[in-house]
Symmetry: C2
Subunit: 164 residues, 2 copies
DNA sequence: AAACTATGTCAACATTGCTGACGTATATTA
DNA sequence: TAATATACGTCAGCAATGTTGACATAGTTT
């Protein structure tokens, strides 16, 4: 019975291990997202603005619909954020080339600056954690996080992430 | 120069690797937190309620101040959530033993049931990701996430997580 | 020409964070 | 013991960011 149980339930799948993995994700996310907040506050922006800046920065020319699919929020929520970014001169829109109903989104120079500024802080934090943990650990980190992504979009997301 | 650069900047610390690590965290967290929402909605609760349930469940007798330190929100925000949980019979308070000003928090049977119900869903998700990735990857995942926690509380958090 | 699609907008509302002010019970210190 | 500090609660108001629903406009597809 003990054999059966440990077969079905190796050490790293015990409930307390799972619980630890869940809490680590909570704490890491909690502290990871705190950095940008201070910078954003200076512009009267919040995390939602940063998420938009980030993904527009990483996918220049992304359409509104694509951005909505990534963020998983409603167009009304995004609209508020996007309007502020456009009004402030951080993002510009351009009529779609294939389909002129689409609005393709780009960062302006100012937008790129802000995005860079925040990215630098976050990347420094991740770089330190990566350095401390080592290349092998990083591979494991990526593997597990990828596994936490909903299976339907996992492949597409991994592709979009690695295409750069 | 290429040698110098690659010494200071091994492959897994390149900017696009860091960016991928950041986005993976975003996507994983996005999908990971979606599960509980449906269950919670049935009780008219949200994520904030779940976080309280979760940490009270894991630390029976936790004081309000300790819970505030974990969640990093104001007492007014927590109060709203805690009142709802107490009113609904999911959490009970008990005057502190050492210090009678403190309120120690416990889950009721009903609270334990709800917490278990949600935990089961989340743990299943994590267990699957762990199983797919393997024990070594899990170790790396934990190592990197731990490194993302603010250094000042990292040791204390790791201790509190492993004490169970 | 009709139907569908991509986007925007108006309005209302919920959740969850925040600040500031003030109260009460208990503990600690001068 | 009196003064001060602490743990917690509560009231009131506000901000950010999410939601639904309804409707408009331009452009695409059938």
């Amino acid at each position: 019975m003990s054999d059966l149980k440990s077969l079905a339930n190796p050490l790293f799948l015990r409930e307390d291990e799972l619980r630890q993995g869940i809490e680590l994700l909570f704490y890491a996310y909690r502290d990871f997202t705190r950095g940008p907040d201070e910078i954003l506050a200076r512009y009267n922006f919040g995390r939602a603005h940063h998420r938009a800046l980030h993904f527009i920065g990483g996918h220049p020319g992304i359409t509104v619909a694509e951005l909505l699919a990534i963020l998983r929020i409603t167009k009304q929520s995004l609209s508020r954020v996007l309007s502020a970014l456009i009004e402030g001169g951080f993002v510009r829109q351009q009529q779609g080339t294939r389909d002129r109903r689409q609005r393709q989104l780009f960062l302006t120079e100012q937008g790129k600056n802000l995005e860079r500024q925040i990215a630098t802080v976050q990347q420094a934090k991740v770089a330190e954690a990566y350095r401390e943990a080592g290349a092998e650990a990083v591979a494991g980190y990526r593997k597990v996080l990828a596994g936490l992504i909903d299976e339907q979009d996992r492949a597409a997301i991994l592709r979009s992430i690695q295409r750069r």
